[in-house]
Amino acid sequence: MNKPTVLEVRNLTRRFGGLVAVNNISFDVHEHEVVGLIGPNGSGKTTTMNLISGALPPSSGEIWLGDTCISRLPARRIARSGVARTFQLVRMLPSLSILENVKAGAVFGHQQLWGSELDHHARRLLERVGVMHDPDAPTSSLTYIDQKRVELARALASNPRVLLLDEWLAGLNPTELQQGIELIADLRDEGRTILLVEHVMDAIRSLCDRCVVMSSGSKISEGGTEDVLSDAAVIEAYLGKDDE
């Protein structure tokens, strides 16, 4: 791997009272790479995403974006340095129009546009993620997958260096899932750097170059997707131990 490292997580730990949700995790994400952060429920994946995006401060450890240490920065500064995210449960801005929802990502973040440039940019992105709806309509008129698309467009709008997708494919029906996977594959092909938390195995196999596997807050495996998924420890974490 000679690609430069974009995101570097070093000995990241987060405690909630006595509970260690994320325990001494380290991994890298290289440029133009799609990395899957996987593991059973409650293994600390979403907490890790929250730590990277600055929704939570880490208890210890460091996160580097290029040569900036972002682990002590507030969420808005992290967003400005180039980390964009979607949320596990889709979060629309209900009193804003569809177009404004996308614009929201491109005004204050890593890329800051305004005026007609912003307008064109947001419309292009809506097209890019495949929302055919009237851009001036309220978001309540959108279907679930289209809301997810709008949220993705909002995250892309800042032209982030790293895109964090937190179970972006969850809750979609089989047709929508296929479309969703294709969309993310497209983003990968255009050279985006993506870290995604996902449960859908098909998506992980077809999208991720590498995977980091977490279980009970710790990293138990890391490597190429196929290798990781056939790793005994990973299978055990997902399915439990096979006592003869």
Partner: protein, 311 residues
């Protein structure tokens, strides 16, 4: 689109021009006695909704800012020139808002409401205590040659200024940021918005306006003393008027201010004991029957009419 905006601008200017002629009507004492409070509440309610409209933070601090403004004028009149005093009132009101905002606006809405609820009373107690112990007099006289008509014109000017600022803010990044914050603060932060600074900035603006209104109104009192200048009732009046009118549009609060102020004056004149009851009922009506305000109801009706015509 551009032409439409120009027409609207001309219309608004025309309305303001007409309103400015009001004091020229002869024998207008009773008219002015109604017009001045209406103009005052119009400025207060509109500037209140610049902040509280998009964020849904219910501010009850208006009376505190207003009182600070009135006191600035009453105590500085012998030393400073009038325009300078207005500027000082704006700075002090804005400064107070900054302090309150930085303390409470990073927390949830309840804390903010509670804090602002008692703020006017807190300052009133402090001022009273200070006056009792250090100055020996309970209030101060305000003697100026400012007429009722001049007060009215100043308020009208302030209203124009609020509208202009509100219009500019709505078109700016600041206005966009505050709307995103009002929708979802978490998304706002993850989009790179400095949520605390944005909220404090708009709160300062509304605080500064309320303080200037207090200063402008002070000559009307003649005698400024704490329980009048910091009357908590003022804050509630502003809240209920703004919500009654509708805070999602810049012109919304006006639709609440005019009818409410007129009914209020009627009740105060005929049933002086029942104003509190009326205020309570008004709050309940707003919450239960017209949560979007008169502006919201109007827009809905217009929408229906248009649909009927279109379809």
């Amino acid at each position: 689109m551009k032409q439409q905006e120009l027409i609207r601008l001309v219309l608004v200017a025309l309305v303001f021009g007409l309103l400015a002629l009001l004091p020229l009507i002869p024998a207008n004492d009773r008219l002015m006695a109604l017009a001045v409070p209406i103009a005052m509440y119009a400025v207060l309610a509109t500037s209140w909704s610049l902040f509280s409209g998009p964020t849904h933070y219910i501010s009850l601090a208006t009376a505190a800012f207003y009182g600070v403004g009135a006191y600035t004028l009453a105590n500085g009149l012998e030393v400073f020139s009038y325009p300078l005093l207005l500027l000082m009132a704006a700075l002090l009101g804005g400064g107070l808002a900054a302090l309150v905002g930085m303390t409470t606006l990073r927390l949830s809405g309840v804390y903010f409401v509670i804090f602002t609820l008692g703020l006017a009373e807190l300052i009133r107690q402090l001022v009273t205590w200070y006056q009792n112990n250090f100055t020996g007099s309970r209030g101060s006289y305000v003697f100026t040659d400012i007429t009722e008509a001049q007060i009215y014109w100043q308020l009208l000017g302030l209203l124009a200024l609020v509208f202009l600022l509100g219009w500019l803010i709505n078109r700016s990044r600041l206005g966009f940021a505050i709307r995103i914050i009002g929708n979802d603060e978490l998304v706002a932060r993850h989009s790179g918005i400095n949520t605390a600074r944005t909220k404090v900035l708009l709160f300062i603006l509304s605080g500064a306006f309320a303080a200037v209104v207090g200063a402008v109104m002070a000559p009307r009192f003649v005698y400024v003393e704490p329980s009048m200048a910091f009357s908590p009732q003022l804050s509630f009046m502003v809240v209920v008027m703004a919500l009654l009118g509708g805070v999602h549009r810049l012109w919304g609060p006006l639709l609440g201010v005019v009818p409410f102020a007129i009914v209020w004056e009627l009740i105060a004149a005929n049933f002086p004991g029942q104003t509190v009851l009326f205020m309570g009922l008004a709050f309940l009506v707003v919450v239960y029957f017209i949560p979007q305000g008169v502006a919201g109801v109007l827009e809905q009706q217009l929408h229906k009419i248009r649909q009927r015509r279109g379809g």
